[in-house]
Amino acid sequence: MYNGGKILLGILIFLALATFPFYNNIGKADVEPKPSIDTPAIQKLSEKKCIEPTAFMKAEHMVLLNEWRDLAVRDNNRVYVAGDGKKYTISLQNTCMKCHSNKKEFCDKCHNYAGVSPYCWDCHLAPKEGK
């Protein structure tokens, strides 16, 4: 083999670099994102619960929001009757974000972790928060 040593060395260096993420993270626990619900509006609530059970909101909020936008914009149905019979105005900006006024600590935490970038805030204004 011509230049065998160099080729083998090159292959070794390549493998070392390509597998770096794997051995670098071996044994380290995956840090689960913990979205914060510590906002003034939520602190004031006597019972800290969202419009639907937390498990449902965690898994299905994007489906719910998608439904909301179609029903509000296209069918002009702007009131959502939750599972427990309470009524809420359908609005990301004026309902969701009034309680969850900490977009960076609440929304972005999980979205960044999951590597998704929803385009909600291209148009909808996020509440002003200190940087």
Binding site: L71, R74, Y80, V81, I90, Q93, C123, P127
Partner: protein, 265 residues
């Protein structure tokens, strides 16, 4: 040995019956009408068969009167000011009589009309050409006659801008956020690459409020239901002479302009 003709027909008949019957059973079990009942319109919302507006430009005495109305809309809806005419985003704006009503062109026009600016906006047509050309159905006509725009669906093809004979639609050539002077935190902005226009303030009607321009106009603009013979707009249309923009195109515009003689000016 294979099956005979009689046997074959029996099997076919039985499977057809099973397939049809099976579907009805599945339909009976899988019901999703519970979903739809979870949503209702807002209880205090204003409703109409066809919203329309009557604008009396003679009640706008000064430029400030017009500016107040335009500003009310601009600040309520986060409308950007790009500072250049070719990028202009406009929901409600003013222009001369000649430009607003080109088909009425005549050399010796009533002097008061010649100089009079007219407030223009989306006409919420009965037969909107913008809706017909929209490839994604982002723009659509609601049951109350409002020509509405679903920004989530707009792909920015600008067919609607070409179709609209009134120039009521504007395109966001760049991100409008930096050009909004006073952000209204309760209303969304738009993003780069979507078309926007006047919505007759659907978000205010849903809360039982009049459109922002009407509220700021001190009675110069009247908004109401065209299908209701007792509504304020119908009473006004019966008692005064009004014209519409380019009615000959057959779009059925729903903004009416009061025209008065020179002695009433």
């Amino acid at each position: 040995m294979g099956i005979d003709r009689r046997e074959f027909l029996k099997i076919i008949g039985a499977s057809a019956a099973f397939a049809l019957g099976g579907m009805t059973i599945v339909d009976a079990i899988v019901k999703d009408d519970a979903e739809a009942a979870q949503y209702t319109p807002e209880p205090g919302a204003l409703v109409a068969g066809q919203w329309a507006m009557v604008i009396d430009m003679w009640k706008f005495k000064t430029e400030d009167d017009r500016k107040r109305v335009i500003d009310a809309c601009n600040s309520a809806h986060n409308i950007p000011d790009f500072g250049e005419a070719k990028d202009e985003v406009k929901w409600i704006w003013d222009d001369s009589f000649e430009h607003a009503f080109p088909e009425t062109e005549q050399k010796y026009l009533q002097a008061s009309l010649e100089k009079m600016p007219f407030l223009l906006m989306c006409n919420h047509c009965e037969n909107p050409p913008c809706v017909r050309v929209c490839p994604t159905k982002a723009t659509f006509k609601r049951s109350d006659g409002i020509v509405m725009q679903d920004m989530h669906r707009c792909i920015g093809c600008r067919f609607c801008m070409a179709a609209c004979p009134y120039g009521s639609r504007s395109f966001n050539w760049s991100d409008p956020r930096p050009y909004i002077k006073h952000e209204n935190p309760n209303y969304p902005t738009r993003t780069k690459g979507v078309v926007e226009k006047c919505t007759f303030c659907v978000e205010r009607l849903a809360k039982g409020e009049m459109p922002a321009c009407v509220e700021a106009s001190n009675g110069a603009m009247v908004f109401g239901d065209l299908k209701d013979p007792n509504s304020k707009v119908r009473k006004l249309l019966e008692s005064t002479y009004t014209i519409r923009r380019k009615p000959e195109l057959g779009t059925g515009p729903n903004i009416y302009y009061v025209i008065r003689g020179a002695d009433n000016a």
